[in-house]
């Protein structure tokens, strides 16, 4: 829970960045651009956490508390809301430490909601966590934290302003509702954005230190890794939203009545307040329903892409318990879970490797293998042959088998079939045989002429091997040498 909250707060910040980028091109604008966005978001997140706590309380108590009590509690809450911004303003500082303390202070005020405490604490730790986990994007995170604290302080100031005006209006029992409702509306919206964005970079945070590109303000490449948890989150959300009753939470009613008691016409003020609050509730319900589309978009965006590193799917499904997601996510969930099934899985054949052996390194050639097959190799081969199905499926396969065993002559595949001993002899040895007439034959005359004819004939003879052709020539050489006397007499040699 803590970690998730921490991350979520951080995530929100980074997730909120993309929209601003298209608007403001140069990254130098980052700070300024962030501020207004964050003001809303921080406020909202507080609201969100607060009500989470409230809801939990409600659950604990079971039945709604009596109206009087509700009214009292409500008053406390309102006071809190009012005092808190003041404190904030007083302690406005840009350092993260102070920010953390401050938020903790505030959280202690809200001890009524146990869970809220946890969340806010967690939230307060977020800067630390962020800097720790992200040392390589220092400048960026610095700017973030700066803007964050700035945003918080500004938000504080703004809230206070709002509160003052609101309380004045309340006193007059004038319809402050539109403004308040609007405020609340914005809050819900922001919260939804926050929730939607929250998961987007959780994985990035923990695992992907290398791909930091999206931290520099570019649209974060969506990661399928988040999808799982996102779905589970929405499941959680829907189930909780379902449990949330139409009526206001007792905490809220209590707060309202407490606030009303400070006014002269307490009962009227109380009913006015409560009506107002109910309106908020209704509006925000509407809002939430409308908001589902946005979330849907976010989810749809998140789906695209692959997880880059091989993390086992071991994340517990219910790490987050967020309350106010409203209804109407069921259909979205259907889609997401479906998409989940398709895209969540990475190809395990593309994940990391053991990295024990160096790739491409020249390894010592195996000297033993060069020595020829050993008994072991023969043994392995015979093992393989024994298990493999060797039965021929048709006559040709049987002939292949026999050919391999040497029982059958090779099927001729060219004109040189069966000419094993001639394979190493080049063709010119066969065709150009004149050079063999240099020794033992006259340079000219009828015998030379005769031998040239013989050589031409031999050169065209495909049936004799080179050796046989040479033997043939040698026979004539011997013959003419033996008959040299006769030939000399005839003067033909």
């Amino acid at each position: 829970m803590y970690r998730r909250a921490i991350l979520s707060v951080y995530q929100r910040r980074s997730a909120l960045k993309p929209p601003r980028d298209p608007r403001l091109g140069p990254p130098a604008w980052t700070h300024l651009a962030c501020v207004p966005v964050f003001r809303a978001a921080v406020q909202l997140s507080r609201r969100a956490f607060g009500s989470a706590g409230v809801q939990l309380c409600e659950k604990k108590e079971g039945a709604p508390a009596p109206v009087a009590e509700e009214v009292k509690n409500g008053g406390e809450t309102t006071e809190e809301l009012q005092t808190e911004p003041k404190k904030r303003e007083g302690a406005a500082s840009k350092t993260e430490k102070e920010l953390k303390d401050k938020i903790e202070n505030r959280s202690f005020q809200e001890t009524a909601a146990v869970q809220t405490d946890n969340t806010v604490k967690a939230k307060a730790q977020s800067p630390d966590f962020r800097t720790e986990s992200e040392s390589d994007s220092d400048s960026d995170s610095d700017s973030d934290s700066d803007s964050d604290s700035e945003a918080v302080s500004r938000a504080g100031a703004k809230t206070e302003e709002n509160k003052i005006t609101e309380s004045a209006e309340e006193r007059k029992s004038t319809p402050a509702s539109p403004e308040k409702a609007k405020d609340n509306e914005v809050g819900k919206k922001g919260l939804l954005e926050l929730l939607g964005a929250m998961k987007v970079e959780v994985t990035t945070k923990r695992k992907l230190k290398a791909p930091k590109i999206q931290r520099s303000g570019q649209e974060a490449p969506p990661r399928p890794g988040e999808m799982e948890s996102t779905t589970s989150m929405f499941q959680q959300a829907t189930s909780e939203a379902a449990s949330q009753s139409e009526t206001l939470s007792p905490e809220l009613v209590e707060a309202a009545s407490a606030a009303a008691s400070t006014l002269p016409d307490s009962t009227q003020a109380k009913s006015e307040l409560l009506r107002q609050l109910r309106k908020h509730e209704a509006v925000s319900q509407e809002q939430r329903k409308g908001e589902t589309h946005d979330i849907g978009n976010i989810i749809a965006d998140m789906k695209v892409g692959r997880r880059l590193n091989g993390r086992p799917n071991a994340r517990p499904a219910n790490q987050i318990r967020f309350d106010e997601d409203g209804r109407g996510y069921t259909h979205d969930r259907g889609i997401t879970s479906e998409l989940d099934g398709v895209r969540r899985r990475k190809n395990p054949f593309l994940t990391k490797r053991l990295s024990i052996f160096p790739v491409g390194a020249e390894q010592e050639p195996d000297t033993d293998l060069a020595a020829g097959p050993t008994l072991w190799d023969a043994d392995l081969a015979s093992q393989i042959v024994q298990v493999v199905n060797q039965r021929p499926r048709n006559g040709f396969e049987e002939m292949i088998q026999w050919t391999r065993e040497g029982k059958l002559w090779q099927y001729p595949i060219n004109n040189e079939a069966g000419m094993e001993e001639e394979t190493s002899v080049p063709f010119h040895e066969h065709v150009f045989l004149e050079r063999h007439l240099e020794n033992g034959f006259p340079q000219q005359g009828p015998i030379r002429h005769f031998m040239e004819l013989v050589v031409t004939g031999l050169g065209k003879n495909p049936h004799l091997s080179v050796k046989q052709k040479l033997e043939h020539i040698a026979w004539f050489r011997d013959y003419f040498q033996q008959k040299q006397d006769v030939l000399n007499e005839a003067e033909t040699y």
Partner: protein, 608 residues
């Protein structure tokens, strides 16, 4: 447009000259063989010479193929045992493999040549004796030759291997007081090969911790291992450690030592690692893919055994239905369309294991993918011997019967049976159930013919299941007639006396046949069946008696009705009074028949 024009001009300039294609001697035969398709109506090619040897059951298939093999082996045995009668060489050019092999020792004096000959002929004991004699005579034996001798002893474990042509081949691991270690210790110098022979022998014969000690010895002697040593040690690693983590640590340690010693791993190395990981529980699941990716990074193409080990790691027999269903998909998408050759003795395990997983997860899609992979290239060879084939096809057919529509099942049935696969009786029962599921019971008589041909007509359970399916409900008349013929056929089997294990009538089979006959309006034959009950000491069911009464009523045969009541009374069925009443009311009975009935009534009343 710019890019495409660049590409276009680039490709226009570049002319790729096709490389010279090297044709092997068997290329034409391979091309011809690829044009021959399998005929699903014919028996396997090896049996086509002799139609008498067309196997009809798996037992016959095994018998006939073993007979062929042993005939060849026997011929070879005689040729090798009496070479002097087989010296005439008809073939020109000479065909060496048809000539008798020299198996007798030719060199008898004590010399290195004699030792070489003994090693070549794999005569372990004679070689060891010769080595000892050489040492006693003071003749130094070269290191290579001693290593050959060590290889021989380590491989065959101190006893002579059975002759290649002899039918029985069994290795007796006998590591007590063995010669390999004795000779090894006597060797004046030892190199890597000597150690390798010893270590591989120890691993082969189960002396795992000894093998690791020898490896330590090797390192102490400032030698390095070779890939075979490491392969052997990796496969021995799970034996010498208890815990999963320890096993894996040992393997990683060995791999690191390989990398340090610059030993290049082979396919067998990684297959050994994965095989060991199968015994490392859940650790295997996290490490399997890193191992495979390491292989790929090193450019070693995985063999089917690799994937089989992966499947084995992720799908344990007990938990196969849960989780990791996608691993088989991943594996199949990785290897679909690839042709494999056998490189590892475990390669043949893949197809049957993959099909087992498909069956366990009831995933017909993956089963089809596995089956199509089998058709690629020469992958069919890796399905293994006939035993593995029957397992594979049995699982496939079982899955088909379970998941597919009956028309598809029958298509596969015609395709596979009986040319590739002889289903067992369970397979036929699956088919019957598939018929039942899709309401195609009218095909039963046809299937019955196959059942008879495959020799499953003596399986009581199968026959009774078939009969009960036929008897269960009324069919259209033609089907009912064919059922009746089939039932009479079954009946003939039961009454046959020349069988070694005759089928014995059960009440179920008797009543099924009877009711089939009744439904087909073969009353006469049904009556004969009814008499068989008495002979077989079985009792017909009451519903059957009612059915009989209905049929008798249809023919309005009062005599038969009375007989029926008599039979019912003789079985002391509780339905008898009921039947009697109905007979008395619904039939026109003669006086005599009435008397018979009243007699019966009084006797049953007395017995009550």
């Amino acid at each position: 447009a710019v890019i495409s024009s660049i590409l276009f001009s680039g490709s226009a300039e570049e002319i790729v000259i096709p490389r010279k294609k090297t044709w092997y001697g068997i290329a034409v035969l391979q091309a011809l063989a690829s044009t021959v398709n399998r005929d699903p109506t014919a028996s396997h090619y090896v049996f086509q010479d002799d139609s008498y040897l067309t196997p009809r059951t798996s037992a016959e298939f095994k018998l006939y193929s073993l007979a062929q093999e042993s005939g060849r082996t026997a011929a070879k045995y005689f040729i090798n045992t009496y070479p002097k009668y087989f010296q005439k060489d008809f073939a020109n050019p000479h065909i060496p493999c048809l000539m008798p092999e020299t198996l007798e020792l030719q060199v008898n004096e004590v010399s290195e040549a004699a030792l070489i000959e003994r090693i070549q002929l794999r005569k372990v004991k004679a070689a060891v004796d010769m080595y000892d004699q050489l040492l006693q005579a003071g003749t130094p034996v070269s290191l290579d030759l001693t290593n050959d001798l060590l290889d021989l002893i380590s491989l065959y474990g101190d006893c002579d291997p059975a002759r290649g042509d002899a039918p029985d081949k069994s290795l007796k691991p006998n590591r007590e007081n063995n010669n390999a270690e004795r000779i090894f210790n006597m060797m004046p110098e030892r190199n890597r090969r000597s150690y390798g022979a010893l270590i591989r022998g120890m691993v082969k014969h189960g002396a795992y911790s000894k093998a690791f000690n020898t490896y330590t010895d090797l390192l102490n002697n400032r030698l390095t291992g070779d890939v075979h040593i490491f392969n052997a040690l990796i496969s021995a690693a799970p034996e010498v450690r208890e815990k999963y983590v320890e096993k894996w640590d040992l393997i990683v340690d060995l791999l690191k030592q390989m990398a340090e010693q610059k030993v290049k791993p082979t396919l067998l190395t990684f297959n050994a690692v994965l095989k060991a990981l199968r015994r490392c529980g859940s650790l295997g699941r996290t490490q399997a893919f890193p191992v495979i990716n390491e292989m790929k990074a090193l450019g070693i193409a995985p063999s089917l055994a690799t994937y089989d080990h992966v499947l084995g790691i992720f799908y344990k027999a007990a938990t196969s239905a849960q989780g990791h269903t996608e691993i088989l998909q991943d594996v199949l998408s990785e290897i679909s369309g690839k042709s494999f050759t056998a490189q590892d003795p475990d390669d043949v395990e893949f197809f049957k294991d993959a099909m087992r997983i498909c069956l366990a997860t009831k995933d017909i899609e993956q089963a089809y993918r596995v089956h199509s992979l089998l058709g690629v290239g020469e992958n069919w060879k890796l399905l293994g011997d006939s035993y593995y084939q029957s397992i594979y096809y049995g699982r496939f057919f079982n899955l088909l019967c379970m998941m597919e529509h009956i028309d598809v099942v029958l298509k596969w049935y015609k395709e596979l049976i009986p040319s590739l696969y002889y289903p067992n009786s369970q397979g036929m029962r699956d088919l019957l159930q598939a018929l039942d599921t899709d309401n195609r019971l009218d095909l039963i008589p046809q299937i019955w013919k196959d059942i008879k041909r495959m020799g499953h007509d003596n399986k009581t359970e199968l026959v009774e299941e078939m009969l009960s399916l036929m008897a269960r409900e009324n069919q259209i008349p033609e089907v009912q007639q064919s059922f009746a013929d089939c039932a009479l056929d079954v009946k003939a089997l039961y009454t046959q006396t020349d069988r070694r294990v005759p089928l014995s009538w059960s009440a179920g089979s008797l009543s099924s046949i009877t009711s089939i006959l009744l439904a087909a309006e073969r009353t006469q034959q049904a009556w004969e069946m009814l008499k068989l009950f008495k002979l077989a000491n079985r009792v017909p069911s009451e519903s059957l008696m009612n059915q009989f009464l209905e049929s008798v009523k249809a023919s309005n045969n009062a005599q038969q009705a009375v007989e029926l009541v008599q039979i019912s009374a003789s079985f002391c069925l509780s339905i008898t009074p009921n039947l009697m009443e109905r007979v008395q009311q619904e039939f026109d009975l003669t006086e005599e028949q009435r008397n018979t009935l009243s007699d019966l009534e009084s006797s049953t009343a007395m017995s009550d």
